[in-house]
């Protein structure tokens, strides 16, 4: 699906958030030069093709008491990483699951999972459970807890600054 200029403007506004007014899609449409119906139709179209992965309330884990987060990484042989990634990605403990490149010798890991929890013990237990259920013990592994959040704001996909998850 080709994104038009008005789609890109709409993407910017939607990443920023819907205004809290009676008819928010009409308000968004006025900002980007689309009708209310067109805004709704474009959101449906972008959702149908997967450009929009999710449309709804976006919560902040840390502020809701999920204060611990770790990036759990594994070095999985390339022929196995797709299947293991899909299994880990379907696990309820996992918030995000990606394959990324190794950068040897500094970084030997190619499978990345984000795990959030109320405290460090909960996150460690969740990662142990994942490793046991999916038979990951023989693979190289590291857990990188976050110790400090320096910034969590503004993704910029379009032409104006946007709020990020």
């Amino acid at each position: 699906m080709e994104l038009s200029d008005s789609d890109l403007d709409l993407v910017s506004v939607l990443a920023d958030g819907l205004p809290l007014v009676d008819r928010p899609y009409r308000a968004v449409g006025q900002a980007v030069g689309l009708s209310e119906d067109a805004v709704i139709a474009r959101i449906k179209a972008m959702s149908a093709v997967g450009i929009i992965r999710r449309f709804g309330v976006i919560v902040r884990h840390h502020e809701l008491g999920f204060r611990a987060n770790a990036m759990a990484v594994w070095d999985i042989p390339d022929p196995l990483v797709g299947e293991l990634g899909r299994r880990l990605g379907d696990s309820p403990e996992v918030t995000l699951c990606y394959r990324r490149p190794r950068r040897l010798p500094d970084w030997p890991f190619n499978l990345f999972c984000m795990v959030h929890g109320r405290d460090r013990d909960a996150v460690e237990a969740a990662i142990r459970g994942l490793a046991e259920r999916h038979g990951l013990a023989s693979h190289g592994h590291a857990v990188l807890f976050s110790t400090r959040r320096f910034k969590q704001t503004g993704a910029r996909y379009g032409r104006r600054p946007l709020a990020a998850e």
């Binding site: 450009i51 500094d106 990188l144 320096f150 969590q152």
Partner: protein, 149 residues
């Protein structure tokens, strides 16, 4: 925070109503009126529980992004983290427990713009910046189950 707040936080993370009056549609489901839904969402946003009501886009669907990592000497971490955070293209920036101790996400309108930011950070700090772009994503994003019980 009462049960209606919890419903608003947990049950509308996906498939937000795509109708002319979505807050009224939400209101009907949780049993309050639309004005109260908007008031509650505004309060939860002010308090930090909600980032926004909006869209999460598939990475790389629009523009470019990457995850970057640096090994920063402890004495310089504060300064380098501030330098990195100052880029508008950097939207997440965390210290993590590893020799590679600074991890950040760069998002920009194009891949070339992402690469320019990484090169600039490397040049200004004299440190290597590892570029770890997404190759495949495995997670179906259904939001984050807050597990109220």
């Amino acid at each position: 925070m009462d049960n209606i707040d919890r419903s608003l936080l947990n049950e509308f993370q996906q498939d937000f109503p795509l109708v002319a009056r979505p807050y009224a549609a939400v209101a009907e489901r949780v049993g309050i009126d639309a004005d109260e839904v908007m008031d509650r969402l505004a309060r939860l946003s002010r308090g930090g529980a909600i980032s926004r009501v909006g869209a999460v886009f598939r990475p790389h669907a629009v523009g470019g992004s990457t995850l970057a990592a640096m090994a920063v000497p402890d004495a310089e971490l504060e300064r380098v983290a501030a330098l990195v955070s100052a880029y508008p293209e950097v939207n997440h920036n965390y210290q993590r427990e590893h020799r590679l101790n600074l991890w950040f996400v760069v998002t920009a309108p194009s891949n070339a713009a992402v690469q320019a930011v990484l090169a600039d950070i490397s040049a200004r700090t004299g440190l290597v910046v590892l570029d770890l772009p997404l190759l495949e994503h495995f997670h179906i994003d259904l939001g984050f189950d807050l597990k109220w019980s």
